[in-house]
């Protein structure tokens, strides 16, 4: 229930909480909110922190609140107590929590939404998490004009950063770099057939990344057929006997290898013979094994693209560095968005003041 009062006309937007930057996961996990807990937590938090509006964001990397209040200092002081009480823990989070108010808070949310404050700079998952958190708060009537405007504008600001910078460009994990390279070689992956040689964890993750991008089919070959069969089931693929993998290799476009063989599984001479039996189309080889499974000179063959684990990790690191260099440019792009919000907030306050405090929302 909302009713207008004079007190809320000069409401501050505030935020605070715990992030991966200053709080270890052992502590963050103690105060993380499950989705089902959020409606109740929002009600309790609004009361304890004396907020007129509230949004609670709980992800694996951060537990943060956003609110509108006339008493920012009171809310900041009450936040650690709220965490302690709600989660029934004894830790004191007051020295671990950050607190922000006004333009700093607005800038913080916009930066979080843009992925600038994520563990992996530029990741876009956090934007979806913010949208979900806002959706929960809004659907339970915990937001009003201040936070509605703040969150909606943060989504627009994040879009602007993504469009105008390279903050999301380039992948930063071995799996996603492999997918990116495959897309640059083949374009559409839906026609690509993948073969996984060896049933290692990294090759499974890489195969899963490719599967997530719609590759046509996956074959798994391993010295132990049972392991190949188990991985094939997990990847919705087909297992082949170790002795037959070379025959099947003539029909695949991407080969991922991570065997523990002490020698090369595939040499240049052997591949040259395979290529003669193969249609003329590119072959992408991903060698995740140490020692390597594919002879490096294979890369000299036309239409064959060979990447080992160091190549992939090096590209991922380069992308990460490039993303970090985009942070300054991204913050510049966010500035006018922050200013626009603050101007709007200023107009709301002055309009409310001149109308005798009849417009602002405040929690019952």
């Amino acid at each position: 229930m909302f009713s207008p009062t004079k007190a809320d006309m000069s409401a501050h937007v505030i935020c605070g909480g715990l992030t991966f930057e200053g709080v270890p996961v052992e502590l963050r996990e103690k105060v993380a909110f499950r989705e089902a807990q959020l409606p109740d937590a929002l009600v309790q938090m609004k009361t304890m922190l004396n907020l007129s509006e509230a949004v609670l964001v709980s992800t694996c990397n951060r537990v943060e609140y956003f609110g509108a209040t006339t008493q920012p200092d009171y809310a900041a002081a009450a936040w650690p107590d709220f965490l302690r009480r709600f989660h029934a823990v004894s830790e004191d989070f007051s020295h671990l929590s950050f607190q922000m108010c006004g333009p700093s808070c607005v800038e913080h949310l916009y930066a979080v939404a843009s992925g600038l404050k994520s563990m992996v700079i530029g990741e876009t998952e956090v934007l979806g998490q913010l949208k979900d958190a806002y959706q929960v708060a809004q659907s339970h009537g915990q937001t009003g004009k201040w936070l509605n405007r703040l969150f909606q504008s943060s989504f627009a600001a994040a879009k602007s950063v993504r469009t105008n910078t390279a903050i999301t460009r380039g992948h930063v994990s071995v799996g996603s770099v492999s997918v990116e390279l495959a897309e640059k070689i083949f374009g559409d992956l839906r026609k690509c057939r993948v073969m996984v040689i060896g049933a290692g964890d990294t090759s499974e993750k890489t195969a899963r990344s490719l599967l997530g991008h719609g590759v046509h089919s996956i074959l798994v070959a391993n010295r132990t057929y049972e392991r190949a069969a188990a991985l094939a089931v997990a990847l919705r693929g087909e297992a082949v006997h170790w002795e037959e993998w070379e025959d099947h290799a003539t029909n695949v476009d991407i080969m991922i290898s991570s065997t523990s063989a002490p020698h090369y599984v595939l040499t240049q001479d052997k591949l040259a013979l395979l290529l003669k039996r193969r249609e003329r189309r590119p072959l992408f080889l991903i060698d995740l094994a140490v020692p390597r499974d594919f002879e490096p000179s294979i890369n000299l063959l036309d239409d064959v693209f060979l990447y080992d684990i160091d190549d992939l990790q090096s590209i991922a690191q380069t992308h990460l560095r490039e993303r970090q260099t985009e942070i300054t440019r991204s913050m510049e792009i966010l500035k006018p968005h922050v200013e626009r919000y603050m101007e709007w907030a200023g107009r709301q306050t002055s309009e409310s003041d001149s109308s005798g405090g009849s417009r602002g929302p405040v929690s019952a």
């Binding site: 390279l181 640059k184 070689i185 083949f186 374009g187 003329r280 590119p282 890369n299 036309d302 239409d303």
Partner: protein, 271 residues
Amino acid sequence: MHDRLWLFLATLGYLASAGWGLYALGSRRELANRGTFFLIAGAFVFHTVFLHQRGEAIQHCPITNLFETLAFFSWSLVLTYLVVGPTYRMSILGAFTAPIVFLINFFALAAASQIDLPSSVPHLGWQLELHATLALMGLGVLGVAALAGVAYLIQERQLKRHVLTTWFYSLPNVGRLERVQQLVLFWGFAIFSAGSVLGFFIPHHGPDDWVKIVWSAAVWALYAALVIVLALGRLSHKKTALISVAGYVFILLTFWGINSLSEAHVFPHEG
């Protein structure tokens, strides 16, 4: 307005397009590629106005001297780009097309500036116009195939060397580049072949123009061999791109010389 001014404006437009295209390649901004396309399209309008006015003035397809031939040749290259670019989402090829077209037009304006309207154009009928138009159009289409080949080689080199520059993200994937290059190569060869064959049916007096015939036959044989081994699947994508680019470099380097030496393909000029 003197018709040359239109070509001058078009050439300036292609220069601007080349600069913008280079920026677009390194900018990592999707919208920048569209800028290249629209700049080239704008310059193409001026280019077309020039050819139209020149055609009106001589009552003939404007391919009566080296100046006009170069302008028509570059025009057909741009026309092919304007069709291929949006059709296959290859607008980025404009970054490669614009500099080549600028250089051809610049050469036409600078080196061939002394050549102007022909004083007498013998009426040789539609066969001559169709022969020359198709042959030049074919060369223009083969030019775009070569430019797609250049883009392929750049992208392939980056993938092979594991050095991913900003161009890596701007250029299309090698699969699409290879498909477009081959498709355009087939079309270019077909159009050039049709134009060349038509040349044998043009009624003419005097000795045969052996310089042009031998040159055309050499170009045709090169591309015929390329197309045949491609169709048979005997050549790697890299070698296909290399031969396509090398073939076109040969055309660009010899085209003006052959046309200068070719007596039957030159009309008397004013002034």
